[in-house]
């Protein structure tokens, strides 16, 4: 019969006694095992919720799991992943760092941390998102809701998975009375975290039924136009809060002046200039092309022609000058040649001997003899 393997204390490493207690630290191994089992149970629950995209529910279960066993590596890694999905990167990193601290070998958190470290731009972006969210909170504290909304939209355009940002933005929209935008914002939350309790509560407060919420979950977020008016808001355009204030002010002044013929027929929707951006671009391109063909090109052609004329004039002037030089030199050459000829003639005349006085001493016979001899 094989000897029973001794049980070691997970806390101090000493041998556990038969009664389940550690003689060194006094830890009860049965209590610990029960705690670990409960931790695994909550981990499984969290895992199921995470698979069903109930991220906030999964986080709650995983938190309980970690209360029972803080060294539950799988629960640590999964809670980090849930936070990462909800756009809270630093929270995710902190869980993964702790996970690696407890167990570094064969731990998937090592890969997660490596991936995050590999992309410093993304990390800087996440830092910027956190900063923008915190700035938005401080703006809200000082009552600047418009600025807070701009900050939140900026943060959400950087990280479209940032659930906290969406929730705060939805709350601000609700406060401004813009329930349609609030619904659109909360739909984005439900796309990430299907059963976010806060998002569902806000929707119920706005009068949405269970069916409406279900429809909202199934709807598309691609063309919901949440960030459509962002650039105009950035440029200091009128926002919902200012609009509301302005409208109430206008109504008050109208009442004061006593004009009773004011009839309000429904709401006027603000014309979105972004819709016509394509046409504006097209008009811009056409105008640019026309400007190019009718103003810039003819001007350039004219300039080129005048430059060419100038060049031709200078070259012809140079050519005529050279021709005159050549002509003068040719005439000089001719003159010199005649002079040379004259000189040669004169010299020839002066060196030739005068044979006029000489009489031939040889008779015809002598010449014939001489020729015969030769």
């Amino acid at each position: 019969m094989a000897a029973k393997k001794p049980v070691m204390c997970p806390n101090c490493g000493a041998h556990i006694r038969k009664n389940g207690y550690c003689p060194e630290c006094g830890m009860n191994i049965f209590v610990l095992r029960k705690a670990w089992n409960t931790s695994d149970y909550y981990y499984n629950q969290g895992y199921d919720k995470a698979c069903a995209r109930d991220i906030s529910g999964a986080i709650e279960s995983l938190k309980i799991s970690l209360r029972y066993n803080k060294k539950n590596i799988r629960a640590r890694n999964l809670i980090g992943l849930c936070y990462y999905e909800m756009g809270e990167i630093i929270e995710a990193l902190s869980h993964w760092v702790m996970s690696v601290n407890y167990k570094s070998e064969g731990n998937v958190a090592v890969k997660y941390l490596k991936d995050v470290k590999k992309d410093p731009v993304r990390l800087a972006e996440c830092d910027a998102v956190a900063r923008k969210f915190n700035t938005a909170l401080s703006y809200i504290d000082s009552g600047d809701y418009d600025l807070a909304m701009i900050q939140l939209k900026n943060a959400l355009s950087d990280n479209p998975h940032f659930v906290q940002g969406y929730l705060l933005l939805a709350l601000l929209y609700m406060q401004a009375g813009n329930y349609e935008k609030a619904r659109v914002t909360l739909r984005r939350v439900l796309k990430i975290d299907i059963a976010n309790p806060r998002a569902i509560r806000y929707l119920r407060e706005m009068g949405s039924s269970e069916e409406n919420i279900l429809e909202l979950k199934n709807g598309s977020i691609d063309d919901d136009g949440l960030f459509e008016d962002m650039e105009y808001e950035d440029a200091g355009r009128e926002t919902s809060f200012n609009k509301k204030k302005r409208e109430t002010k206008k109504l008050a002044t109208l009442k004061e002046t006593g004009s009773e013929s004011v009839v309000r027929t429904g709401n006027f929707s603000e014309v979105s200039l972004a819709r016509y951006s394509g046409i504006y671009v097209l008009i811009g391109v056409v105008l640019g092309a026309l400007l190019l063909f009718f103003v810039i090109v003819p001007k350039r052609e004219k300039k080129l022609v005048s430059e060419n004329d100038k060049l031709i004039r200078t070259y012809s002037e140079e050519l005529s000058e050279k021709n005159s030089i050549i002509e003068s030199q040719e005439s000089q050459i001719k003159e010199l040649q005649t002079q040379l000829e004259q000189k040669v003639e004169e010299e020839a005349k002066s060196t030739m001997p005068d044979y006029s006085g000489i009489k031939s001493g040889m008779s015809d016979e002598d010449i014939e003899n001489m020729l015969d001899n030769e």
């Binding site: 006094g26 830890m27 970690l66 060294k71 702790m98 900063r131 909170l137 709350l171 509560r201």
Partner: protein, 57 residues
């Protein structure tokens, strides 16, 4: 009805990269083993003076 001010209090600042260390420390919570250890320690501390008292007597 939602109380806007009350609801706003639920939103806490998000830690940035510089505060990552604080976030790690905040996540280092106590689990069952820590509590059991603490209880054992307290029990020991309680028992020790009694034991020493008896010995002296």
């Amino acid at each position: 009805m939602i109380d806007f001010e009350e609801e706003l209090k639920r939103f806490k600042p998000i830690p940035g990269v510089n505060q990552a260390e604080d976030a790690i420390l905040a996540n280092d919570l106590k689990d069952i083993s820590d509590i059991v250890m603490q209880m054992t320690e307290e029990l020991r501390n309680q028992q020790q003076p009694e034991a020493t008292g008896r010995y002296r007597r």
